[in-house]
Assembly symmetry: C2
Homo-oligomer: 343 residues x 2
DNA sequence: GTGAAAGCGCTAACAT
DNA sequence: ATGTTAGCGCTTTCAC
């Protein structure tokens, strides 16, 4: 069913039908109603390509997924982000254009999006410090919103981020308040912006109470269960092992839990663990971790906010950059408890 | 940069430039070479919408993600599937159109895809028995491939599936060979096709060795850690508890492991656990579960195969339906061991 | 081997 | 309030 046919059925011109369908005011209500009904009845939907050609919009938002590197990180978080953003998109008639590309081709993917005019805007995922994508997108004049921040030029683009620094500062303070002094940090890759901020929060809290920073108790790497396990094991084997762990993801925390129990330690008495995880949608257990429902997932919420901000930017261009800093409710205690009394 | 401008720069007609770019034979090689170079230099990419309008193709594959219900299941598996499919798509110049919709609107999403001509084909995810989407897509004449199967009319559409029945038959036999007789089954929702097949495999293996089926040892539900935990706990509390568990997902297995250790049982001596999980990309631990790298993830491979099959269907229409049944290497032992000697 | 012109399905000036 | 007409950027007959 095409507009022309619909117009013929209705005995109207294409123009009028188009106007009626698109909510233009200069159509009589009776006409609009009739048009709507007939369109519905014939399951009419405009050809997106033709509409896009004519309007210059494509009603699609681009998301580029670089494959191979850092896969572990992007994977679980990304699915939930998309779910949140997707809610907003679909409510506004937008679709998602996903481009899966090899790591090195990422910039090219944006260029292609741009020059083939297949999207109206993009979301930037997993920013590094001084991420080159930001200048690229600016130069291509593609509206974009960053999920996270890319170093310190925060005011030069729009972003939605969790207050990673504050979150880890609070987590560290919690453990300090419990009497812990040797607190280990299991962190993500330092090349990622969020990991750097988390470390800074941890360091600030430690130093504010005159606790020394022990490089041996601070690790940074891919946030896998294995690395969580290995590093916890190594740290617990030290002559003065940490009595608490501040962990950057659920996977690492599961690894840590395993190492702790293997070492014959008890959670909450010998060792405390506090976890920060942006994507809690997959958590559903009942014992040592609070239950979060999928709909409340922080990443999903970030997806919603990014999408809303982006659509707003697209619809009202020329605005100032906007920023949302979410205070996270994401510090989870895995059987936290007071520091053990030193022997 | 548009075709017209490019043509002017080159001193050729749009037609010739178009032909050169699209590999038509009637262009002189020298001309083609020159066209290609200039196009490259100016970073020319054809407007996808205009090209789509003119050719009738949109170079995009649709994936519909229903939100809310069964979220837990779709989520982790989906991300990896997309990664695999995305590889193939991008190699062939296709993009992914993601439509996130409320559960009930799913059929509508396909209709809209179809009548707005924004995609060339779709992949059907998470099929139920006699899934209505299949007839719908047929009636809409959208090329499609099903990831999984939808009941017993297997020859009426193309699909890529894992041999769930055989996989669970083998898993059960493994446990029977170890001497276990009371083997519990922690399964996914029976409304999902894969879960039904898994149960059938389990039942067949049990019955083939004259082992009775105990409904009390067979559960089916959402594959969450919590349900794995609760059911394992309940079953272990029976007067004659199971000595082995056959589990349908990693999440459930983690729950089971927790219940087992809480019950004071030892994995591999008191209880054995065998897990089947389609998406092992997030597994990276070292102790009781073998390491699978992301690239080897079975779901990712299924994504690749589905995508290849779909593109082939699109490019060579009118073929017979095709089917790929993957024998899985996905049975993982979590400290399996011989059945304990009865007291 | 190359070009002119029509057309893909829609929107948006510009009439009326 | 409705219709006519000219594009949007590309491909594709058809003519040379």
């Amino acid at each position: 069913m095409k507009l022309k046919e619909l117009a013929e059925i209705l005995g109207l011109s294409q123009t009028t039908v188009s106007r009626a369908l698109n909510g233009y005011p200069e159509v009589r209500e009776a006409t609009r109603k009739r048009v709507m009904e007939v369109a519905q009845a014939h399951n009419y939907n405009p050809d997106t390509r033709a509409k896009g050609l004519a309007t210059g919009r494509s009603m699609a938002i681009g998301h580029v997924i670089p494959l191979s590197t850092q896969h572990e990180m992007v994977n679980p978080v990304f699915a939930d982000f998309i779910a949140g953003a997707g809610e907003v998109y679909s409510r506004n008639g937008y679709d998602i254009m996903l481009s899966v590309v090899a790591d090195v081709d990422e910039e090219n993917a944006y260029r292609k999006f741009s020059s083939s005019r297949s999207i109206d805007g993009v979301i930037v995922h997993g920013p590094h410090a001084d991420d080159p994508r930001i200048e690229l997108l600016k130069s291509l004049k593609i509206p974009f919103v960053v999920h996270g921040r890319a170093g310190d030029n925060e005011d030069r683009y729009s972003w939605v981020d969790v207050n990673n620094r504050h979150s880890f500062l609070r987590g560290t303070e919690l453990l300090l308040d419990l009497g812990h002094r040797r607190i280990a940090l299991l962190n993500g890759l330092e090349s990622m912006d969020f990991a750097r901020r988390r470390r800074e929060g941890y360091e600030a809290a430690m130093l504010a109470r005159d606790n020394p920073l022990d490089p041996d108790l601070m690790m940074s790497g891919e946030m896998t269960e294995e690395l969580g396990y290995q590093n916890t094991k190594r740290m617990l084997a030290k002559s003065t092992p940490p009595t608490a762990f501040l962990v950057s993801s659920m996977s690492m925390a599961i690894g840590a839990r395993r190492a702790i129990s293997e070492a014959g330690k008890t959670l909450g008495r010998d060792v405390s663990v506090v976890i920060h995880d942006d994507d809690l949608s997959y958590l559903k257990n009942g014992s040592d971790i609070p239950i979060f429902t999928a709909a409340r997932s922080p990443v999903r919420q970030a997806g919603r906010l990014c999408a809303e901000m982006l659509l707003d930017t697209i619809h009202n261009p020329g605005q100032e950059y906007r920023h949302i800093l979410l205070e996270s409710e994401l510090m989870l205690g895995m059987s936290t408890g007071p520091a053990p009394v030193e022997g």
